[in-house]
């Protein structure tokens, strides 16, 4: 997933559970089906949480990546 192929972005760096999930949900709700959200977080729990959230809500977690303590997620609204 390269950086040019997303429609919206969300900065959740510094936020702790459950804020990254709540903010992601809120933003995904405003998006069109098929659009991609780039979300960045520093909460180490966010990988498991984003996976669980995506499975539960049916949205697609396209990829996640950890670099310099920042987790980057690409989520496609289904």
């Amino acid at each position: 997933m390269n950086d040019s192929s997303y429609d919206q972005e969300l900065d959740c760096k510094g936020m702790n559970c459950p804020l990254p999930i709540l903010k992601t949900k809120k933003q995904v709700d405003t998006m069109e089906v098929g659009q991609v959200l780039k979300m960045e977080a520093t909460d180490p729990g966010s990988i498991n949480d984003m996976n669980a959230w995506s499975r539960r809500t049916g949205n697609e977690l396209l990829s996640h990546n950890l670099e310099d303590g920042i987790y980057t997620f690409f989520i496609k609204k289904i």
């Binding site: 510094g14 936020m15 702790n16 559970c17 459950p18 804020l19 999930i21 709540l22 992601t24 949900k25 809120k26 909460d43 669980a52 959230w53 539960r56 809500t57 049916g58």
Partner: protein, 169 residues
């Protein structure tokens, strides 16, 4: 996506530490497209008040770590050898412990109780006040935030009997 899951919570505690679990779980469950009801009873009712004054109670939580939310890392990581059971009875200690915990939560990027509650309401979580304990403690519905419904055990049980998750907190 499978059919909509439901979660039924009972919030029975009114201290700051115990105020977090119901609001964290409810807001997250709603964000995961679940239908959620929280039944507030006994001291949990105070979490419905417009202005939440929840404190921590060190005297009844001997295992609560006493840590400082400021200063160098080594200082913050140090666990102060204060016996909560004893110190908890000192005037002002509870207030101090509460403000230290609030500051630590803030430093760690944790939402406040009020913020989480607001997100619950925004995302359609149903808040129900227990009528019986409201009578006992003298609470009026008008003291609570907008949208609180009032009911009894049967109201909770009807929803809980069809819920996938039921927790007593």
């Amino acid at each position: 996506m499978s059919e909509q899951k439901k979660m039924a919570l009972i919030a029975s505690q009114g201290t700051l530490d115990w105020a977090y679990p119901p609001f964290i779980l409810a807001s997250t469950a709603a964000a995961m497209d679940m239908e959620v009801q929280i039944f507030f009873t006994f001291y949990g009712l105070t979490l419905l008040k417009k202005d939440i004054k929840a404190k921590v109670a060190p005297a009844t939580n001997p295992a609560m770590p006493m840590k400082m939310p400021f200063g160098p890392k080594g200082f913050q990581d140090f666990e102060w050898p204060m016996p909560n059971v004893f110190m908890g009875n000192m005037p002002g200690f509870e207030t101090m412990a509460t403000s230290l915990m609030k500051q630590t939560f803030k430093n760690k990027g944790v939402a406040t109780i009020e913020e989480l509650r607001e997100m619950c309401v925004e995302s359609g979580v149903k808040l129900i006040g227990c009528q019986m304990t409201m009578d006992v403690f003298g609470f009026e519905k008008e003291e609570f935030v907008e949208g609180v419904d009032v009911g009894g055990a049967a109201t909770f049980l009807e929803f809980a009997s069809e819920a996938d998750i039921q927790l007593f907190i």
